[in-house]
């Protein structure tokens, strides 16, 4: 009798124990969403982001924290409609407490409308359109905006004595912010914008556009493009024998630019907030991890931003413990101060902008070299 009672108590205790363990496990896994283009024309970026996110997530889950994090990746194909659908899906999943992405400003802003209504914190690694963070208090970004980069570059070019400049950019929300941010600053510094035009992303032949730019006889050309378009532009500039200096934004900062353009990339000036050659241990750690997963290739700036964005989000989730909610994660994100990332220290300002330090870089001898002026 006594024995049986003991068994029953043990069983009951075990039952309670398993019960609690079960619910404890559920509470110990936090879900995040990541919307990014995994197929389509911009898939190369999304796939890099996923790789960077997986590095960050593996490290986080291996660090022996009291809880685990799971990231749900959804393919938006850089399509605003698709991005909005994913946003609805993420919002409907009650377990998801925070979202990363999207890649382009356009899609991020479309999805942001859904996140705004649902009160879901959204952190984009790349959306740099000035209006993105103005949508609501739930939008954050981990990239310098063109409102910051444009004036910085305008000052740099003015210091080099380029008074009369041409500016071209891709025909997107982001491209327009490149032209806007830069042109206003040039005019404010007393320079003139001799030529300003947009082209379609993925245009292969820039020769017509280049001939048109040259007709305006600018001292220098400022460009808002990504590395694919940039490489074609630079190669065709060289083909046409044009020597006008080219300046660009951090969006073109990728080792692929040099790989694709070869000698034509020599002398291009641009800004960046990530240098894979930076000797600091966290940068070198990330570069090593990246190389392991990418056949020895060096990461560009975008994967680095994604890596940092994911870690910033993870840190916010950790601060929102125990039992994080969307609101708590948002508040934790907003409190991010001096987060030590591979793209420098990140602090979110009151309007949820990441304040980044920019570095001046020039392509010399087939590599990005930091320059003082």
């Amino acid at each position: 009798m006594k024995f049986r009672l003991l068994t029953l108590t043990t069983l009951a205790a075990a039952g309670i124990a398993t019960g609690t363990a079960g619910s404890a496990f559920a509470a110990d896994t936090v879900k995040l969403g990541y919307q990014l283009p995994l197929t389509g024309d911009t898939a190369q970026y999304g796939q890099d982001f996923r790789k960077a996110a997986e590095i960050a997530l593996t490290e986080f889950n291996a660090a022996g924290k009291p809880f685990k994090v799971e990231i749900v990746f959804e393919d938006s194909r850089s399509d605003a409609k698709e991005g909005t659908n994913i946003a609805r899906k993420f919002v409907d999943d009650k377990e998801i407490v925070g979202v990363l992405g999207d890649f382009t400003s356009g899609v991020s802003m479309a999805a942001a409308q859904v996140y705004k209504d649902a009160g879901m914190p959204q952190l984009s690694q790349t959306a740099s359109h000035p209006d993105y963070t103005k949508i609501s208090k739930y939008q954050f970004r981990n990239i310098a905006t063109q409102a910051q980069e444009g004036p910085y570059n305008a000052k740099w070019m003015a210091a080099k004595g380029f008074k009369n400049v041409a500016v071209i950019a891709e025909q997107t929300d982001w491209g327009q912010s490149v032209v806007g941010g830069f042109s206003d600053a040039v005019k404010a510094n007393g320079g003139t914008v001799a030529f300003s035009e947009f082209f379609n992303r993925g245009l292969k032949d820039y020769r017509s556009l280049i001939s048109k730019i040259e007709r305006a006889k600018p001292d220098a050309i400022y460009t808002g493009f990504f590395y694919e378009d940039g490489a074609q532009f630079l190669k065709q500039l060289q083909q046409l024998g044009i020597k006008t200096p080219v300046y660009s934004t951090s969006a073109a900062y990728s080792p692929k630019l040099i790989e694709l353009a070869g000698g034509a990339a020599e002398g291009v000036h641009l800004t960046s907030n990530f240098l894979p050659t930076d000797p600091s241990p966290n940068v070198q750690h990330f570069v090593e991890e990246w190389k392991k997963r990418s056949d020895g290739a060096v990461p560009g700036q975008f994967p680095a931003q994604a890596y940092d964005a994911v870690r910033i989000m993870l840190a916010a989730v950790e601060r929102a413990q125990p039992s994080p909610t969307r609101e708590k994660v948002r508040d934790a994100l907003a409190q991010t101060r001096d987060f030590p990332g591979v793209t420098g220290k990140t602090t979110f300002s009151a309007d949820r902008e990441a304040e980044k330090d920019l570095v001046k870089v020039e392509v010399k001898g087939g590599a990005f070299v930091p320059v003082a002026e």
Partner: protein, 304 residues
């Protein structure tokens, strides 16, 4: 008015038009001449470029061997494409099925499906990054002709496009194979009744057209120095527009319209923002469909 600027723009337009024509020739052969709805030609083009790139990185052969390799892959791809996406729809040989437009047009979706599978497979295998072509192989050394700068590739593409055009015109108008192709296109049932092996004719056309598509792909890869899974899309659209403008079944018509398209785009860049230059192609497509439903060269279109 005779600013060298306009001459340069004209030359750029011609060279751009040539690149469209290169793609349009094989496309028109299958889609227009054989009269088979095929939306996978862009992926054949991409496959040709990747085949060339793989060959270059594996063995660094001379450029002629690269092109031959791409042609072989193109032929294989054309054959497989026909087998997977087109042949199953011909398994009903009764008269109703052979005359059915729905049966014929269902290949729109099956070829589109194949194209999506191929593109995504390439993305999985090679990644969606742009891959660079070793610089020794590039055909874009600048060449100065008077006040105009062109590159070596412009001349090569011109030569290849001209050879393709002349060769195909000869094939279609002077040989029995060409006669069979035109017969099958005009009336598949009738062709069958007079003893033409329709299956073989269709396969031959696919193989020849896809070889041209693959050759176009590798040449454009060497010309622009970048190979990536989505590269076939834009040229496919431009080739489609050139074909429709040219009156569907006319290969010379498609080539001339490709040149018109190229020149209009580069000239349009002078007057409107470059961002609008794609409007030119779509604008032409709409104008052609409204005002010349038979295409610009449709009136002279030869129908056996």
């Amino acid at each position: 008015m005779f600013d060298p600027y306009y001459l340069q723009q004209l030359a750029i337009g011609l060279s751009l038009g040539m690149t469209y024509a290169l793609m349009a020739i094989g496309f028109t052969l299958i889609f227009g001449v054989l009269n088979v709805v095929n939306f996978a030609h862009g992926e054949i083009y991409t496959l040709g470029a990747f085949a060339g790139l793989v060959l270059i990185s594996a063995t660094a052969p001379p450029i002629v061997a690269v092109i031959l390799g791409a042609l072989a892959i193109g032929a294989l791809a054309g054959f497989s494409l026909e087998r997977i996406a087109f042949k199953p729809f011909r398994r009903f040989t009764d008269e109703a099925s052979l005359k059915s437009r729905a049966m014929r047009e269902s290949t729109l979706l099956s070829s589109l499906a194949v194209s999506i599978v191929v593109r995504e497979a390439l993305e999985i295998v090679f990644g969606s990054q742009m891959r660079s072509v070793p610089f020794d192989y590039l055909i874009n050394t600048p060449v100065r002709v008077g006040p105009v700068i062109l590159v070596t590739g412009d001349f090569i593409i011109f030569g290849v496009a001209a050879a393709m055009l002349i060769g195909l015109q000869y094939l279609l108008t002077r040989t029995r194979v060409g006669l069979a192709i035109r017969a099958v296109s005009n009336n598949p049932l009738g062709a069958k009744y007079v003893g033409i092996d329709t299956d073989r004719t269709i396969i031959t056309t696919f193989v020849v057209g896809s070889m041209m598509g693959a050759a176009a792909g590798i040449l454009m890869g060497l010309y622009y120095g970048a190979v990536f899974p989505a590269m076939g899309f834009t040229p496919g659209i431009k080739a489609f527009v050139a074909m429709v403008m040219g009156g569907l079944s006319s290969i010379p018509g498609a080539v001339i319209c490709a040149l018109i398209l190229g020149i209009s785009e580069s000239m349009a860049t002078t007057f409107v923002s470059s961002g609008w230059s794609d409007m030119v192609a779509y604008g032409f497509l709409i104008l052609t469909l409204i005002f010349f439903p038979n295409g610009l060269f449709g009136a002279r279109r030869e129908r056996v």
